[in-house]
């Protein structure tokens, strides 16, 4: 459903079209020849009187944002990540994907005093899934339908806004979400639902470049928060439910020109193509819609891939189906695959393998090993050697798991043939297709407690298998969910603190509903997350004791961050429910839609 205001416009358009009135496609749909200009707050962001050149071409000007000091965001800034806590420059906070801040002003002793400092309403009441980013006192927040807002990090004042013009017939399986922006130099980047990538002047919101990744009406869309490594803007693609052939792209941050494309399914003749029957590789899925991680020491980019297509029927794609449901280690400058590991070979459960990739050190036989840890959608936490991709260990983190009888010595799941999709779909299969841990939200990791904090869904599903015919641009599912435990109210969720060295669950907070909001860890000994009832929550990172809560008014589906601005620590928590997944796993019956950023601080 569109928002009501847009429905009204569309109904009007429908009538006008029939009446022969020249239609309004460029006003609300279709692709305009020119990009819309950003709308600036007239008091906060008047164009600078001294700037005679377009802001997009003049990074030295401040676009009217007097009072802000802009530093070009360099690779050094990105490498530092949240070590400089006035910045939050990427989806995971740092290249290791931790979503961790060293800030301690707000801590386990005083978090009970946390109060709302300000709130920003996006006005787009649909699925808020983003992680804000922060640079030089400005928050860059994306909302559904590719709205992007620049906000003063202290006051919440709106500085400028950008709305990407979208067509009406987008192919978005699961909601109009966006996971956030990226930043480099003087540019803000956003991937869009019509499979474009845009770069905006961070001072003005003016479009600097706009590159089409693919034809949206062939089933492609982009919801990922891009990741910058040097001059590479790494962007993933969505469309696994439409039978796309997935890929990871790099675009030149300055020009928008594509530098490389790494398909996540090898074509006939390439290594791995033998894992696809016939030419099923052409429509095999393996999308890349969750931001990866980067190890500067190894100079390796880690990016995980999603489900095979068709989702629930593997008959037409016999084989392991590489590199779907895998993690790839890539050269960030060329896209060359250095190693891979596949979590769910021949996926027929829709267990997209693209969730958080934490770069952590784990202890193995008394030795510290540089590892990559991932709470996978299929119910297992995997730990790999991140230099070689070697499987170290895997453990079950969900309560309910029956599709597999365990992992073998190489980490390959031992499938239980009783729990596979069938035409009747009578068995309840655990986890359900959403997971486990879904890629639409993040876990967090604290290097102090050495624990991962993972919001978890416990919801078993019937999964029905059916025939499937590939037609470009329409869903290619091969089945779908039957009844789920969300239907009878027996789904639930938890936030689990998991030691990646052992897989041991150190503590757990259990919630009445699946937990599908992101997490944040801080050196103040805190973990922030939220639930589908709209509560923002803070826990003692060591014990799991709930220490603070705030009712935000809509479900928590997005990613909290923290930052320091004006000498004060703030915690920014986006709120806004919606999307296909929550309706399937079971959401509170009275959930309200919403889309807001709530920012908290201790009393001054």
């Amino acid at each position: 459903m569109h928002p009501y205001w847009l429905q009204g416009i569309l109904v009007g358009m429908y009538c006008l079209t029939l009446l022969g009135v020249p239609h309004y496609a460029q006003a609300v749909g279709g692709r305009a020849d020119t990009q819309p200009e950003p709308v600036k707050n007239k008091r906060a962001a008047q164009p600078a009187a001294t700037s005679a050149t377009p802001a997009a071409a003049s990074p030295a000007t401040n676009g009217g944002l007097d009072g802000y000091t802009f530093h070009a965001i360099t690779q050094d800034h990105l490498l530092k990540g949240t070590d400089d806590p006035t910045y939050w420059l990427m989806y995971g906070g740092n290249y290791a994907g931790w979503r961790f801040s060293p800030l301690t002003d707000i801590n386990r002793d005083n978090v009970k005093n946390l109060k709302a400092a300000w709130m920003f309403q996006t006005g787009i009441p649909a699925q808020m899934q983003a992680s804000p980013i922060v640079a030089d006192g400005i928050i860059y927040l994306t909302a559904a339908y590719n709205h992007l807002f620049a906000l003063d990090a202290v006051t919440g004042a709106l500085l400028w806004r950008y709305e990407h013009e979208l067509p009406d017939d987008m192919r978005v399986c699961c909601g109009p979400s966006n996971k956030g922006a990226a930043i480099a130099g003087d540019l803000i980047f956003m991937a869009t639902l019509d499979a474009h990538v845009v770069a905006l002047n961070r001072r003005t919101g003016a479009v600097v470049w706009n590159t089409e990744m693919d034809r949206y009406n062939d089933g492609f869309s982009a919801t990922v928060a891009p990741l910058v490594v040097r001059d590479n803007l790494i962007v993933g693609i969505a469309g696994g439910e439409y039978g796309i052939r997935g890929y990871i792209d790099s675009y030149d941050i300055n020009t928008g020109e594509r530098k490389w494309r790494r398909y996540t399914i090898p074509e006939a003749g390439e290594p791995g193509s033998e894992t696809w029957a016939g030419d099923s590789w052409k429509h095999g899925g393996a999308p890349t819609w969750v931001t990866g991680s980067y190890d500067p020491d190894e100079d390796l980019l880690y990016w995980a891939t999603g489900n095979t297509a068709p989702d629930w029927n593997g008959d037409v794609r016999k084989g392991d189906n590489l590199y779907a449901d895998s993690v790839l280690a890539l050269d960030p400058d060329t896209g060359e695959i250095k190693w891979y590991f596949q979590f769910t070979p021949h996926d027929i459960w829709d267990y997209d393998g693209n969730t958080d990739l934490f770069l952590v050190n784990v202890e193995r036989s008394g030795q510290m090993v540089k590892a990559l840890a991932q709470p996978n959608r299929n119910g297992y936490v995997y730990v790999l050697d991140r230099a070689s991709g070697k499987y170290l260990h895997g453990t079950q983190y969900v309560d309910n798991l029956n599709w597999s009888k365990g992992l073998d010595e190489a980490g390959r799941p031992i499938v239980d043939p009783q729990f596979v999709p069938t035409a009747e779909g009578k068995e309840f299969i655990c986890p359900g297709s959403v997971g486990g841990k879904n890629g639409s939200y993040t876990a967090a990791y604290s290097p102090l407690t050495k624990l991962m904090y993972v919001p978890v869904v416990e919801s078993c599903w019937q999964m029905k298998k059916s025939t499937s015919i590939f037609i470009k641009g329409i869903p290619f599912w091969g089945g779908g969910p039957g009844k789920t435990q969300g239907d009878d109210g027996s789904s639930y969720g938890h936030l689990s603190a998991i030691d990646p060295s052992t897989g041991e669950i150190k503590w757990r907070y259990q919630d009445e509903y699946p937990m599908m909001g992101g997490a944040l860890a801080t050196a103040g000994g805190l973990v922030f997350s939220g639930n589908l009832e709209g509560l923002a929550l803070a826990f003692d990172a060591a014990t799991g004791e709930p220490l603070w809560q705030f009712q935000t008014g809509s479900a928590m589906r997005a990613q909290p961050i923290t930052y320091k601005a004006g000498g004060r620590q703030y915690v920014a928590i986006p709120s806004g429910g919606g999307g296909l997944a929550v309706t399937l796993v079971g959401e509170p019956p009275l959930t309200s839609k919403g889309s807001a950023l709530l920012v908290f601080a201790l009393p001054e």
């Binding site: 009446l19 641009g473 779908g480």
Partner: protein, 147 residues
Amino acid sequence: MRRVYGVLLVGLLMSIPTNGWADEAMKNPFAGDAAAIAEGEMLFQAVCSGYCHVKADADRDGKCPNLFDCDWVNGSGTDAEMFKVVSEGVPKTEMVGFAGQLPDDMLWQILAYVRAASKCESSAAPAADGATQNVVPSDTAAMPAHQ
């Protein structure tokens, strides 16, 4: 308001000259053919259902219009109009045109299944005979389903 649009659109549709192919008398050659209906059900499942439209006996609602309640969102629900919708698609929605993607016979089989499996409310009888009925763009249908 809904009724006003309905009257407006019925009038407009009646005044639009039909193309040669859009013969209002066009009938589904597989109507009532049990084997074709079974084939149509399989095709419906493979192409239309699961994610967008759902089958008549589905466990849950789909994100796209229900095709089994005889409450037509696009076109009038006659055989000819149904064929036109599946062949040409619906502009500005995810409903693509299947002409050239699937043979006409397959499209007719799908439509034969839809017709056979429909359960109509008393106020919305099937319109196999060409009678124009509800062509109102409802609040939820004919709109792209983004969520």
